[in-house]
Amino acid sequence: MRRRSFIKSSLVASLASSASFLSSTVAAQSPRTMLEKIWDSHVVANLGGGTDLLHVDLHFIHDLHAGQFRALQRDGLLVRSPELTYAVADHSVSTLPGRTLESSPTGRRLAGELIASARALDIESVGINDAGQGIVHMIGPETGLTQPGKLIVCGDSHTCTQGALGSMAWGIGSTEVRNVLITQTIIQKRPATLRINYIGALNPWVTAKDVILFTIGKLGADAGLGFAVEYAGSAIRSMPMEERLALCNLSIEMGSRIGMVAPDDSTYQYLVGKQYSPKEQYWDTAMAYWQSIPSDPDALFDREETIDVSEIEPQVTWGTSPEHVVNVTENIPLPEAEPANQLAYQAALDYTGLTAGSKIAGTPIQRVFIGSCANSRIGDLRLASEVVRGRQVANGVEAWVVPGSQHVKRQGEAEGIDQVFTAAGFEWREPGCSRCLAANGELVPPGEHCVSTSNRNFIGRQGRDSITHLASPPTAAAAAIAGRIVDVRRLMAGEVA
């Protein structure tokens, strides 16, 4: 923790006004959830019917929206707040080792344009091989830009990831991106609140990814429609920040645009010393503000659920929605056994080619992708590397590790993790969104099965007629070794040939 710095009179005045702001908006009101507190403090104008005009504290913009700057210029409009904007090249860039902007034609066009425009407009940015480059939802937390209580938007649905630090963050469409660039505000209807309480302790080799996949399987891919989710409970408090980020990442796969974890000591420790954490002179006031953010003890949520994580086993998806998920030990469901979902399940099985009622374990696979904003942090790579250490990728399997950022890549190399992977037969690649959605052309070929640590297994997501099995980093690593979907716990116990 930083020490209280020398306080000048102007800062005393600022602290006093902050304190009164905090007390007037926090203590004097009836109990509020974290969502309500952050929402209320960002209202620029009330538009009626539960809809407000909100101030955007931080707008991340990535390369697929590079054209927005050109459009603004064409229309004679300015970016209102360059100092509240941050540009990142991630979706279209190649992840080939040693890549440059030239490695992907789309990347060259889009990423190049994004960074050139940002620089011309005095917007902070990270270009393709800058030391700080990576997937946008990695960069926010890594740089300390993502902070409790900030309202953050980005033209990417996995912006919910950043809620792990207690920010209120969500994905927006292109028109909204444009409007934020012009006005630094956004019109939004206040969501309902859903709190999911996680109790119990995680079993070995079960990760936050398994927890969120299990949650989506249990509650449904549309459970969160109209809700902002708060993840709470002892199991969440025990999770390190990286695991919280992985958890929040899949909020949108449950239908919730916003997924949040209340800030606590883990959060504050995480933020200490980051590049863009609050400066020395602001730190104490920021801390006081952050500490006021968690939901009041008697706050009411529109809906609450409780999940015991000690029941959760490694998860794998078998179909074309994140809700098509089972324990790795289970059988693929029989469509007839689920009348409400029968047609959807049958259609999913028709696409993936799996057999209803058969075990998910044993499904042969051809590709493994360890990467994406869901699971490409150093903790993910460390855990996966423990699975592959001393083992070999199975014949016929192409296995990639795509670190989520240059920072993670460097750290992995410093720890020798890259060599553990390459010795086993993995490719260790450059940071980018890569095979999660193949916007850069890095496709999974038709008919091939890919075990992926990403967040979507939609039809054709990783390439036309490709089949995606979502899983955690250790489960993906185990699949690479076995050449088929396996229970990582059995592999580590020496029970898998």
């Binding site: 600022s14 101030h55 509240l84 469409g173 909204e176």
Partner: protein
């Protein structure tokens, strides 16, 4: 933005749940070697065979459904990615309205930014409409935002609800920006007091 007041047209059913925006439109429009229009790329992965010809099994390739301008859909339509091309692609194909029990939220918002009318009806009502369409697909359905109802000659009208603000926006063909720009002073007031309360938001570079 194109206004939406009332529309009458043929309907086509595509009822599977959780139709995601990746299915609605792929990111890469040049994947077939030649850049196709957004309308041509809608439902690409299930609309075309590997050789590029139309998949005769796909309903929107069949007459009269290929002339449909109203889509009857399943729950959570438009889930997934925030890509706004899912909306513009559907409009480019020829759709003016989508009727579903629920929508992905980002997609729903994006609809109101472009003039594609998303209508929420109960599953049983959509089933009734689908049955009528199966019986006679040449009978047109009306989506009326002014009266806030969906009408079919053989059925009682189905009322639907839309937020007042969104309805007004659609009827007038307004963009959000028109409304936001009325609050420029409010934004300036907010920022000047916020700058004192939370200076670290603004001073970080």
């Amino acid at each position: 933005m194109r206004a939406f007041t009332t529309h009458t047209g043929l309907a086509a059913p595509l009822l599977r749940p959780n139709i995601d925006t990746d299915l609605i439109i792929p990111l890469n429009r040049g994947s077939r070697g030649v850049e196709l229009s957004e309308g041509q790329m809608v439902f690409e992965s299930i609309r075309y065979l590997p050789d590029g010809s139309e998949n005769p099994e796909f309903i929107l390739n069949q007459l009269p459904y290929r002339r449909a301008s109203i889509l009857l859909a399943g729950e959570n339509f438009g889930t997934g990615s925030s890509r706004e091309s899912a909306v513009t692609g559907l409009m480019n194909f020829g759709f003016s309205a989508i009727i579903a029990p629920s929508f992905g939220q980002i997609f729903y918002n994006n609809c109101f930014g472009n003039g594609l009318m998303p209508v929420v009806l109960a599953p049983e009502q959509i089933t009734q409409l689908t049955e009528q369409v199966a019986f006679n697909p040449l009978v047109a359905i009306t989506v009326d935002l002014e009266e806030m109802e969906v009408r079919h000659p053989e059925l009682r009208p189905f009322p639907f609800t839309v937020e007042v603000r969104l309805r007004n926006k659609m009827l007038a063909g307004l963009d959000d920006i028109d409304e936001i720009l009325k609050h420029t002073e409010d934004t300036e007031l907010f920022e000047s007091s916020d700058l004192e309360r939370r200076p670290w938001i603004y001073d970080w570079r």
